[in-house]
Symmetry: C2
Subunit: 296 residues, 2 copies
């Protein structure tokens, strides 16, 4: 990989953290983002090795391109700059949904002999922008790499090697399986956290101070992702609506069962459910700690 050029398009939380993580991993890092000040800053701070004002000039040098932009702009750029990539090069992304993006990427790039492979690193925070980036963001993250009938095995190998070089582990998956999976493990949590935040803090002005006092570390963590980017989460749910609504049904089945137990004052059963949930979550924590040799 010594001579490979990796181009990072979009220098926000994920793009800048990726540039930081790729430092010293044997790639030449080129970066581009809309704001020229951020481009200059990224080179000065060794986030990337090189930039240029013209995105087409950068893209033309790429062996691997990672588009680190919001979902609609990933698709916009794939269509707009399709002709600028080198034939045989590989383009991937970091979008949280994969079916719409990968369909768009394959359709846009195939005519030019450019390979598209969808990626989704399970990494992020509730913050956004280059100033929120840090080199450990991807540490112990898992990255989903999607496989379709058109996916080139060689392109998957290159994308996988890049993700593995920064300490992530890669899981291959189909498009619909991916989107249904993350609707469960990620997307629905944002609707829950938002509903909780509104139920607790969207109250009479007179009560707000007291509600503020009553919120502690439990609320802080359960609601953390409510502080995420509103436009980003709108776009994710907009582009995964059927899977999100299917997951809503899964959640409501459990929720209504628990409320029923509480209404019926069947507290032995409630304790059994709490113990069951604890066992499930603790087993996931054990998995994470043993797989990544870390402390979650």
């Amino acid at each position: 990989m010594e001579n490979k050029n990796i181009v990072i398009i979009g220098l926000g939380l994920l793009g800048v953290s990726l540039g930081m993580a790729l430092n010293g991993k044997g790639y030449r890092r080129l970066g581009w983002t809309r704001n020229p000040d951020v481009r200059a800053w990224a080179v000065a701070e060794n986030i990337v090795d090189e930039t240029a004002d013209d995105i087409s000039e950068i893209i033309g040098q790429a062996d691997i391109t990672v588009i680190c932009l919001p979902i609609p702009r990933i698709m916009e750029y794939l269509k707009k700059y399709a002709k600028d990539w080198k034939p045989g090069s590989v383009v991937t992304d970091i979008g949280s949904v994969k079916e719409v993006i990968v369909n768009c990427g394959e359709q846009a790039l195939a005519p030019y002999g450019v390979n598209f492979v969808g990626s989704h690193p399970m990494a992020g925070t509730e913050k956004t922008g280059p100033e929120a980036a840090f080199p450990e963001l991807y540490n112990s993250a898992e990255v989903f790499v999607t496989i379709t009938a058109q996916t080139s095995p060689d392109a998957v190998e290159q994308v996988t090697a890049m993700w593995k070089s920064i300490g992530t582990s890669v899981v291959e998956l189909g498009l619909q399986a991916h989107d249904m999976l993350v609707a469960h493990t990620s997307h629905i949590s944002h609707i829950l956290a938002l509903s909780l935040t509104e139920a607790v803090l969207d109250c009479d002005e007179a009560d707000l101070k007291l509600r503020f006092s009553g919120c502690a570390t439990g609320f802080r963590d359960t609601s953390r992702i409510t502080s995420s980017s509103p436009s980003m989460w709108r776009e994710i749910i907009e582009n995964n609506q059927p899977a999100v609504l299917a997951t809503v049904k899964e959640f409501e089945k459990r929720w209504l069962k628990l409320i029923d137990i509480i209404e019926n004052k069947d507290y032995d059963k409630l304790e059994t459910e709490f113990a069951h949930g604890k066992k499930l979550r603790d087993s996931w924590i054990d998995y994470k700690n043993s797989k990544h040799n870390c402390k979650w």
Copy 2:
């Protein structure tokens, strides 16, 4: 407060952390818990200054007693040992619900001229037991101290002084107002986190490994409190059922509104809701950081 004896009954997460935090604050710390090995350990580790095998002997020396036990055992001990406290001394607790406990405490102790004041420090983790304790647990926590028609102002002053000595801030509140408040800011989150955990991880064995891979920091935080003690959370909800069910209605109103927005594909409205929730939560974070001069 130099000559005051504080007795801590129950040396688990909250009791041991309280002993640690009270070190050097001018009180003589006495402690008791059922397990004699933990009693000996607590003295050896300077969690408390003194212990004894006989709980009645310890209680008889107390100016202030803090009962750090599960809710049913707080009430059991108040009734069982009522006659052992000194007349004029003050007894408080750390229970997460207040109406049942304070009613029990006042009824049990008033005949002996002992003052009961309910306390609820908004501090804890998902862990339990003395080994999970740490001296900073109460840092920047808010403590609710309950006021009833029978509450002695002098007793409230003593309890407040103790809580303030370890860096917490005290908010006075009525019993029902307290129980409704924490149903919103704390109790409902545990039902939500449990429902989420079950919706994500209670799946076919064949899917579990993939679900494990798909869960990242968002799930970790949203579901953290699912790893709490099942018996403790059963007891809290069992003793605050009407307020919890009222809060469920508040949550469901928001939840159903959001699902309706998603079903109707009104994504502009969804983004407005996300922005509204972010603003509410960020304003709470700002409040916490400015009030406690810390970084939440």
